[in-house]
Structures are given as structure tokens and as C-alpha cells.
Symmetry: C2
Subunit: 170 residues, 2 copies
């Protein structure tokens, strides 16, 4: 067991789930007769990120969690998406980046020194970074993206959030 299992497969799956929620949001907009790109500006509070930035931030959280723990340089994304088509491409780019990791990239990741740009002079151990910052930050933005869609009438539900599970017969 390594931090690979805690990050890459699950982040990939949740970003794929996010693509399915956008499918449903588009179908909902079509059924209700409104422009689907309006979702990008919807938000839950005036001083919270709107949907577009929640998606961008979920993408960045996933990208940085894997890149920092797995020791790779992350690709740059300028946050210039203004359509659902562009947001989908952003999600897809991060899924492709996640697919570039091999479990061996995470050997010793637990004790890897992680430096964060907003904490100069400080560092975290890889294991602390993933559990205390990487995953919670990812879920923070992902669940806000989900909640914005639900708040605006898209018929999602818990199992569409969770997605498929690796089960076996007993």
C-alpha cells in the first residue's frame, strides 16, 4: 500500500464522475430550455467560487496532489475556460496527466518533503500533505461543484457522486 492507491485511481474516478454530472447538467438545461454554459457562473454564496472555478480548483487539487506526492512537474492550466466544452477538456487533461503515473513514482512518497507555495519556509511530509491537504482540498471543490448543480435542479444523487465500486462476491 502506498500513497498511489490513496490518490491516482480515486482522483481519476471522481473526475470521471464529474464528467457524468456535466452530462446530466447539459441534459437538464436542454430539457428546461436554458443555455448550459450558464452553469459556469452559478454559485452557492456571493463570496464563494462559481461552478467554473470549483471545477478548475478540483482539477488543480487532483493535479497537484498527484504531482507533489508522486514527484512530477504538473502541467500548467491558465484557468481561462468559459464554456462547458472547455471545462471538459480541462478535466480530461488532468485525467490524462494522472494516467502518466506509475505506482513506482510513489515509492517513498510518505516521507517526501512537500513545499507549498502559500507556506514559504515550511514543508509537509508526503503522507501528511495527501491526507490533510491534498484529498480534503480536492473533495472540497468537487463537492461544491456537485452541490451547485444539485442546487440548480440537476437530478444527481449520492451514488452518482460515489460512482462504481470495486466489489467481489461473497
Amino acid at each position: 500500500m502506498s500513497l498511489y492507491e490513496a490518490t491516482v485511481p480515486q482522483l481519476t474516478k471522481m473526475l470521471s464522475n464529474l464528467e457524468r454530472w456535466i452530462d446530466e447538467a447539459e441534459a437538464h438545461a436542454k430539457a428546461k430550455g436554458f443555455e448550459p454554459d450558464l452553469y459556469l457562473g452559478f454559485r452557492l454564496a456571493p463570496d464563494q467560487y462559481a461552478f467554473a472555478r470549483q471545477v478548475q480548483s478540483a482539477c488543480d487539487s487532483a493535479k497537484f496532489a498527484a504531482a507533489r506526492a508522486g514527484g512530477k512537474e504538473p502541467p500548467k492550466h491558465p484557468d481561462d475556460e468559459t464554456t462547458l466544452v472547455q471545462l471538459r477538456a480541462r478535466i480530461r487533461a488532468v485525467i490524462d496527466f494522472l494516467a502518466s503515473f506509475d505506482p513506482s513514482d510513489f515509492e517513498g512518497a510518505e516521507s517526501r518533503e512537500i513545499r507549498l507555495p502559500f507556506m514559504p519556509g515550511k514543508a509537509m511530509k508526503g503522507i501528511d500533505y495527501v491526507h490533510q491537504m491534498g484529498l480534503p482540498n480536492f473533495y472540497f471543490h468537487l463537492v461544491h461543484a456537485y452541490a451547485i448543480l444539485r442546487h440548480n435542479g440537476v437530478a444527481l444523487g449520492k451514488m452518482k457522486f460515489i460512482g462504481g465500486l470495486d466489489v467481489y462476491d461473497v
Copy 2:
């Protein structure tokens, strides 16, 4: 590294953070002159759980994730809270339950067979259960609880969500 690190310390910390958000929600209600227990009925969509049930579900997700992966019988909680005082006691009970775990309880937890009541005849390996179901389900309800408070004017923010981090000087 074991599933202990992925669950008990972080679940405990996030539930403690939730207690601080409730502190701020109460202060906000007092400043605005409304009854703080009104929060329990607030929700983001008519067919989503209200705040009380989001908190109960976050508590249960944490309790079950640790109990199943760590091989202990979880305490029962009947979901009968109707006040913030009672919700705080529920959170505190789960934090106390989490404190009863020792890292040694999680030896071999990665391959432990986890059976879920809503999937008869199926099981998951401990490592898959924690990453695919336990943690995402916990964050789903926790972030909804947070978002309901933010949506209703409580001045939280990302670092109050994340909480303290284990950093060291470099």
C-alpha cells in the same frame, strides 16, 4: 503506513473543524438575531438532506469508516438530534469513538473483507472501501454541512475547512 493514517487522525480533525464551524454559525445567528437551531432545517435543494442530517451522516461516515477498516463494532446513534447542543454531543461521541482506536487495530486492514448492508452478497477489500467509499462519503456530507452554513451567511473560508496542518521548518 496503514489505513489508520488515512482515516482516524484526519476524520477526528475534520469533525473538530465542524465543531468550530458550528461555533461560528451560532455567533452569526446571535449577531443577526435568529434562533441558532434553525440551521438544522436548512438545505441546498428540496430533495437534499438538511444540515442536521448532513452532520449526522458525516458522523456516521466517519464512525463506519474507522469501525469497518479497524475491525470494531460501531456505537449506535439513532439520529434523533433536534438542537445544535445535541448535534455537538453526537460529533463529540464519534470523536471519542475514534480516539479508542490504536494503529495496531489497522494491521492487515488493506485486505480486510468489508461487507456493506446495502450490497448483500458483495464485499470490498479494506483499501478499496476506505478510498472509494469511506472517505468520499465522509467528505460528501461534511462539505455539504459546510456549504449550507456558507450559503446562509456564516463567514467560513477554505482554511477553516482545512484546519491546522502538520508542517515543519525548512
